[in-house]
C-alpha cells in the first residue's frame, strides 16, 4: 500500500454512525448523495470544506452505533483518504475494510493534532507522522488476511476471486 498524505479534520470520542450519516438520509445508497450530509450533525460545514485526499482523525470508539455501511461509504464518497482513530467500533472497522476505506488505530494522534495539520501514513511500516508538529505514532499493520482484502480493493472483489478459485 502506498503512503497516504493529507490534511486532517479532527473529531472527538464516540463519534457514532448517526453523526457520520444521520438515518434521515438512509433512503439512498449512493455514496455521492450520502457524502453531502457526511458528519453534518457534528460539524455542519464539513461536507462543504472536506477535500479529496483529506484525512479524518478522531478519538476512541469511532463509528459506534448502527451497522450502516452508509457511514464508511459517506466518508469514502466525500473523498476522505483515510481515517485514523484511537479505537474503532467493530462493525465500522469491518465495514471500512470491506469497502476498501483505509483505517488505522493510533492512540494519541488525535490529542496531539489540530485541524489542518499535515499527516502522512505509511501503512506497510505501521507508522503515522504529523508533519506539522513533527510527531510520530505507531499503528499495527493489517494481518495478512485483511491485507488480502485491501489489496483486492474490498471484500467483494476478494470473495469473487475466491469463488472463481483464484485465491
Amino acid at each position: 500500500m502506498q503512503p497516504i498524505r493529507g490534511r486532517c479534520h479532527k473529531f472527538g470520542d464516540d463519534i457514532d454512525t448517526d453523526v457520520i450519516i444521520p438515518a434521515r438520509y438512509l433512503n439512498t445508497t449512493d455514496p455521492q448523495e450520502l457524502a453531502k450530509h457526511c458528519m453534518e450533525d457534528a460539524d455542519p460545514a464539513f461536507p462543504a470544506k472536506v477535500k479529496p485526499g483529506d484525512i479524518i482523525i478522531a478519538g476512541k470508539n469511532f463509528g459506534c452505533g448502527s451497522s450502516r455501511e452508509h457511514a464508511p461509504l459517506a466518508i469514502k464518497g466525500a473523498g476522505v483518504a483515510a481515517v485514523v482513530a484511537s479505537s474503532f467500533a467493530r462493525i465500522f472497522y469491518r465495514n471500512a475494510i470491506n469497502i476498501g476505506l483505509p483505517i488505522f488505530e493510533a492512540p494519541g494522534l488525535a490529542e496531539a493534532s489540530e485541524p489542518g495539520d499535515e499527516i502522512v501514513i505509511y501503512p506497510e511500516e505501521g507508522v503515522i507522522t504529523n508533519l506539522t508538529r513533527n510527531l510520530t505514532f505507531r499503528t499495527a499493520p493489517f494481518p495478512p488476511f485483511m491485507q488480502g482484502i485491501m489489496a483486492a480493493g474490498g471484500l467483494i472483489p476478494y470473495v469473487a476471486k475466491k469463488l472463481k478459485g483464484e485465491v
Partner: protein
Amino acid sequence: MGMTVTEKILAFHAGLKEVEPGQLINARIDLALANDITAPLAIKEFRRLGVTKVFDPQRVVLVPDHFTPNKDIKSAEQAKLVREFAREQGVIYYEIGRMGIEHCLLPEEGLVGPGDLIVGADSHTCTYGALGAFATGVGSTDLACAMATGECWFKVPETILLRYYGKLRPWVGGKDLILYTIGDLGVDGALYKALEFTGEAIAELSMDGRFTMANMAVEAGAKNGIFPVDEKTLEYIRGRVKRPYQVYTSDADARYSEIREYDASRIEPQVAFPHLPENTRNISEVGDIKIDQVVIGSCTNGRMEDLRVAAKILRGKKVHPEVRLIIIPGTQKIYAQALEEGLISVFIEAGAAVSTPTCGPCLGGHMGILARGERAVATTNRNFVGRMGHPESEVYLAGPAVAAASAIKGRIAAPEEVL
C-alpha cells in the same frame, strides 16, 4: 484449557476443535438477516459478486421494518427492491401487516435457536444471544458475501463474564440491568469482546427481559452478548424452533478477560441521559426534566412484557396534556395479543397513539420525529445526537415502567409517583 460458550459455538461452525481469542476464522452461518435499509446495499454488492443464487433460501431472512410502511418515495423504492429480490430468490420475507421489528420477529417465528451462528446487517442482531446463540451485527458487504457463500470471517473475541446476584426490586427489569451495566462498562468497555450474562438475577429474568439485555450488548461495544440456556429458554423455543439446535455451556475453567459482579437488589430503575447510553443515572437522581414525547417500543422494549408493564401503569390514567405518547408493539402477534388482553384499549383511553410495528421513531425515521429542543423518553437503545430527529433534540433512555410514568407526569418520573 476450557472454552466459553462463545468460543465453542465459533469453533463448531469453523469446523475446529478449539479456538482462542484473537484467532481469525472462517465460519459457517446458520442464518443471514437484513432489513429495508441494509438489504438494498447488500443486494447491490451480491450482484457484483457475480453469483446468481443465495447459498440457502431458508437461511436468508429479509424484514422491511425501518422505514415501513414506506415513509416516502425513496424508501418505497428501497422496500420494492428488497421485496423483488426476496421473490426472485425465494428467501424468507415478511410483508407489512404480517411482520414485526426484525429482532422481535425472528425469535418469535422460531428462526433462531441455541448454538446457532447468526449474522445480520443490523447492529442489534446480538439480541439472539438471549437464546444462547452467537449472533452479531455486520455490514451490508459482509452480508452480501454471507448470502452468497454461507460463510463469514470472524476474529474470536475475548469474553467478559457478568454475574448478577440478588433479587430485583419492583419495576426493575432487563432494561435497567443493562443500562446500569453500560453505565459501568462505558460505551466502549466491551469493544471487540463477548459479554456473557449469568447469575441468579438473570435466571429469574423472563425471556423478554433477556432479549432486552442481549439487544444492548452492542451499546457497550460488544461483538455479542450471550445467556445460558435454561428451562425458560427451552420453554420459549418449544414448538417454535424447527431446525435441530445445540445447547453449549461454558467450561468451569474457561478464560475470561474480566469478571464483574453486580448486586441486582441495589439497582434502581435507570435513565440514560443524552447523548450516550453510558450516561446512566438512578431514577431517584434524575431531577426535574420536562418532556414532550414518550416512545414505548423498538427491538429493545416492544415485547409483550413491556406492554403489560406500561399498561399496568397507564390503566385508568391520562397522558399529560403536553406530552405525546407513542406505543409500538414489536410484532403483529404481540399487537394481536395486546388487543386480546385489553392493553390497546388501556393505551388509547389514556391518550396514546398506537402504531403498527415499525422501527419508526427509534432511528428518527418517521412516526414521531422530534423538533429542535424537544425531549423524549424512549424505551429504545440509542440516544445519540439527532437519533430521533433534530440534532438539538434530546433522548432519555429508560424501561417501559419509567417511560409510562413519565408520560403521565410530563417529566421523567418513577413508577411509584403515579401509583
